[in-house]
Amino acid sequence: MSQLVDQIITSGASTPAPKYTAKDFQSDQDVRWCPGCGDYSILAQAQRIMPDLGIPRHRIVFISGIGCSSRFPYYMETYGFHSIHGRATAIASGVKLARPDLSVWVVTGDGDGMSIGGNHLIHLLRRNIDVNVLLFNNQIYGLTKGQYSPTSELGKVTKSTPYGSLDYPFNPASLALGASATFVARTLDRDPKHLQAMLKRAAEHKGTSFVEVYQNCSVFNDGAFFAFTEKETRDDNVVYLEHGKPLVFGKQRDKGIRLNGFTPEVVSLADGKYSVNDLLVHNEQDTTLSFILADMTYKPSLPRPVGIFLSIARPSYESEMQRQIEFAREKRGAGDIAKLLASGETWIIQ
């Protein structure tokens, strides 16, 4: 690293994280989301877990694109960059490659991340740059006032699709897994405890962490996820993935997921035919299993899987890049511009 940046890193590193509270991560800007927006909860949980990370505020960067969710960085008392539509993941790549010492977070939405920014997202995931991506999925375009999004259900009637949408929705978890992500999780705006746990796990993961957050848009798509978030319905509609544990769900914890060949199916634990021992046991390090679990997402007969689909170790891009730089320095010595200019064939004119 050059001397100039080194000075900043050194002085920043010698300023350790004080004992923060969530309040220390609230900026002085007024939060301007609609009343009832799921973003409030996600912001609050993020601010709540930040003190636990033990990273000083000045070494944290939140980067966003365009959309309701992308206002997020303004409200975090960290470094922040509210950029242009779809490009947060690419900007974050540059930040992290230039400065592996920083904790880099991307806040994006279903439109920003998977429509206009879909290309950058999949490439970030396959490269495994150590960036935490929070994708707020509300299945609608909020900021442009209610058009369907790449995660809207088929046939969605919106301003731009009065006869119903024709395009089949992305399943963000499957998309991320297909892009060779090393950490893929799903959580819910209205389940603060789970949301906090997922954010912490994402922060701990070395490599790109992809966290899909189901987020209610109270104005344009109110209740899209209520089946998974509300007290009356959630237990029968959601199965929480926990590493090493069988997939049990239901209000009475009387249902489970069993694998029939490669196909997951719901079985009853109440009628004596199946016991917990017959159920699929989650292993978050099993890539094949992660695809099967993510694929449950839009199957009406199956509960919606929530939790960590996959968490595996693979070298991160920026650490490999650093390794190549160090290797080149060992082999060829630190660069010297004057020597470079005079390298190869030269001749002298008297």
Binding site: M1, S2, L4, V5, Q7, I8, I9, S11, G12, S27, Q29, P56, R57, H58, R59, V61, P73, Y74, E77, T78, Y79, G80, F81, H82, S83, I84, R87, A90, I91, A92, S93, G94, V95, L97, A98, R99, D101, L102, N119, H120, H123, I325, A328, R329, K331, R332, G333, G335, I337, A338, L340, L341, A342, G344, E345, T346, W347, I348, I349, Q350
Partner: protein
């Protein structure tokens, strides 16, 4: 041994032409390096097809490399060639119009077999009929002679065929009295791990030289004495290499890390390739998924405290447009290199053009002024890239650096600069929380502070939404927007205080001023010198800074009765000069994917002087 005479030449232009698989670029490059080492001044023009391996023997698969060298000042790759090395019939057909009357053709006879003649569309063999009467034709069965030289090595016929360009090179080395050693050494290094190929190429190169020396075909060989160049250490350099090194030198001077976000595109990719080598300098190159990620990753790197750069050509710059606006808004240093090529759309990917000037100056939504600099020769790409970086860092702004395919791929001898004498670039990162506001501007430059993540107490947010003056908070107030627009414009305008005054080559006052920018430099200079030698009042102004322009440009223009602006486009700088300075400048425009010939500019000057 046959008796051979030697003639002295001041300058000569040779064109190597063959199939795109014949290795003509390599042959030309080797000849260039050897010629440079001998101390000749030179200029080169690679001319290759967009197809990587077009069908063999076809007209559109012809690849050429022209080198103009001499003992005098050489400013262009040569309007036409004196010697044409044609490896096949198609190469002859495509390039014959470039050959001067009485010029020499060295034809590989095997390349004129029935199949090749048919592919090239010849009804009869031009070597056999009288169509080449006005030229000196030397027929050499290069293919056969190469085979003979290698017959005891038991190589595949493919390998043998691939060596034949070295035979042509060896002959030309003999004819122009150049040593074989530099190329032999290159072969040894390049093929160190492939002894068969090393042996084959070395042997064929020597065979070509010996063929010139011993056969009766060539009666004359030529001597081109070294040029009177400024004393010092020289090297040969291409424009793209010079651009890469200019960026590296600027980053090093500024004590910053260089970060390149780039997507491969012809003819700019060589900058990415070059920078990728120099990891020991801490250079980070990121081959992004697209042009947009190229520029946005570079913006991210600049935000984090690196010198962010992105390299591209016209179509790529179009894709980067929105992000350029973001860089204007967030006021971070960023260097955008556009190695221009023929457009619009995909256009002529491997051919040169200067048609992105207006795109660079104006091609963005909203009021988004960006400084623009241009390189005028291959080695000058170093200076242009360095200057673009200096402005970007000092003024916290994106800067567009324009080169083009002709400069990027062209090469010339370069007097290696003294690194310590390069202009000062000394950025500082802001660190004091007590004096920090993200958009509190420097009084002189109007640059905002560079406050990078990792600095305790300076946590702040930037973005593409309009900023409040000084605080940098999101702000939609009418008066603030206008103020910020004016401030961003003023910041760029003030750069004019920090660049040298424009200098006229020739009398500062007179009848005709030729104004150019970019790669037209050599052709304009040659044409102007010729007219001046004939006693005409003609001067030359070449612009490095296109935005802002030096303060004295208007004053200079007013000192001449006629203003001519030659450009490889449909008239872009001429529009700017006419609208900004209200002068009746006229354009000379060539849009054929080729650089100007000096004679084309000469004639236009002549015509203007005559009708004046």
């Amino acid at each position: 041994m046959a008796s051979k005479s030697t003639q002295n030449l001041d300058e000569v232009t040779i064109r190597f032409a063959g199939d795109s698989g014949d290795g003509m670029q390599l042959t030309g490059t080797q000849f260039t390096n050897t010629t440079a080492i001998l101390g000749n001044d030179l200029s080169t023009l690679p001319d290759y097809p967009a197809e990587i391996r077009a069908p063999q023997g076809t007209l559109f698969g012809v690849s050429g490399f022209q080198i103009h060298f001499g003992s005098t000042e050489i400013n262009t790759p040569g309007d036409s060639c004196d010697v044409l090395v044609a490896m096949n019939a198609a190469a002859l057909k495509v390039n014959l119009t470039s050959l001067v009357d009485g010029g020499a053709i060295i034809a590989n006879t095997e390349g004129f077999n029935d199949k090749n003649l048919k592919l090239a569309g010849y009804e009869s063999n031009p070597l056999r009929d009288d169509s080449l009467e006005k030229y000196q034709v030397y027929e050499v069965d290069i293919t056969k002679l190469t085979e003979l030289a290698l017959q005891d090595l038991n190589l595949s016929s493919k390998l043998v065929d691939r060596s034949k360009n070295f035979f042509a090179l060896g002959m030309m080395y003999w004819m122009y009295n150049r040593p074989l050693e530099p190329t032999l050494q290159w072969i040894n290094e390049k093929f160190a791990k492939k002894p068969e190929i090393r042996e084959a190429n070395s042997r064929v190169l020597k065979a070509g030289w010996n063929f010139g020396e011993t056969t009766e075909i060539f009666k004359v060989r030529y001597e081109v004495a070294p040029a009177k160049l400024k004393p010092g250490r020289y090297r040969n350099i291409t424009g793209n290499q010079a651009t890469a090194w200019g960026l590296m030198a600027a980053a090093s001077k500024a004590r910053l890390d260089l970060f390149l976000g780039s997507y491969p595109i012809t003819p700019a990719s060589d900058i990415l390739h070059e920078l990728s080598i120099h990891k020991n300098f801490g250079v980070k190159t990121f081959q992004a998924e697209d042009e947009i990620a190229g520029i946005t990753s570079a913006i991210g790197a600049s935000f984090a405290g690196a010198l962010g750069a992105t390299t591209t050509s016209g179509p790529g710059l179009a894709l980067k447009t929105e992000a350029l606006g973001l860089a204007v808004m967030v006021e971070l240093p960023l260097v955008v290199v556009n190695v221009q090529r023929g457009g619009p759309s995909t256009g002529l990917p491997t051919k040169t053009e200067q048609a992105d000037l207006l795109q660079a100056l104006y091609g963005r939504n909203g009021e988004a002024p960006i400084p623009v600099v241009a390189a005028c020769t291959p080695s000058d790409c170093f200076n242009a890239a360095f200057e673009a970086s200096r402005i970007a860092i000092k003024y916290m702004t994106p800067v567009i650096c324009l080169t083009d395919g002709y400069l990027g791929n062209g090469s010339e001898p370069w007097l290696i600069p003294d690194v310590n004498a390069l202009p000062d670039i000394s950025p500082t990162f802001h660190t004091n929380p007590d004096t920090f506001m993200p958009y509190l501007r420097d009084e002189a430059t109007l640059a905002r502070p560079w406050a990078i993540p990792g600095t305790p107490g300076l946590e702040h947010r930037i973005g593409g939404i309009e900023k409040q003056h000084q605080t940098g908070n999101v702000n939609y107030e009418p008066a603030n927007h206008e103020l910020m627009i004016k401030l961003r414009a003023e910041k760029v305008e003030r750069i004019a205080n920090d660049i040298p005054a424009a200098e006229v080559d020739g009398d500062p006052k007179g009848t005709l001023l030729v104004v150019g920018w970019g790669s037209t430099y050599g052709a304009i200079r040659s044409a102007v010198l010729k007219h001046r030698a004939a006693g005409h009042s003609v001067s030359h102004l070449h612009l490095r800074h296109l935005n802002p322009m030096p303060k004295n440009v208007g004053e200079i223009l007013s000192q001449f009765k006629l203003v001519l602006v030659p450009e490889i486009n449909n008239g872009q700088l001429v529009k700017v000069l006419r609208s900004r300075y209200l002068v009746p400048a006229v354009g000379l425009n060539k849009i054929q994917g080729l650089p100007f010939k000096a004679v084309e500019i000469e004639r236009k000057i002549e015509e203007m002087l005559r009708s004046y």
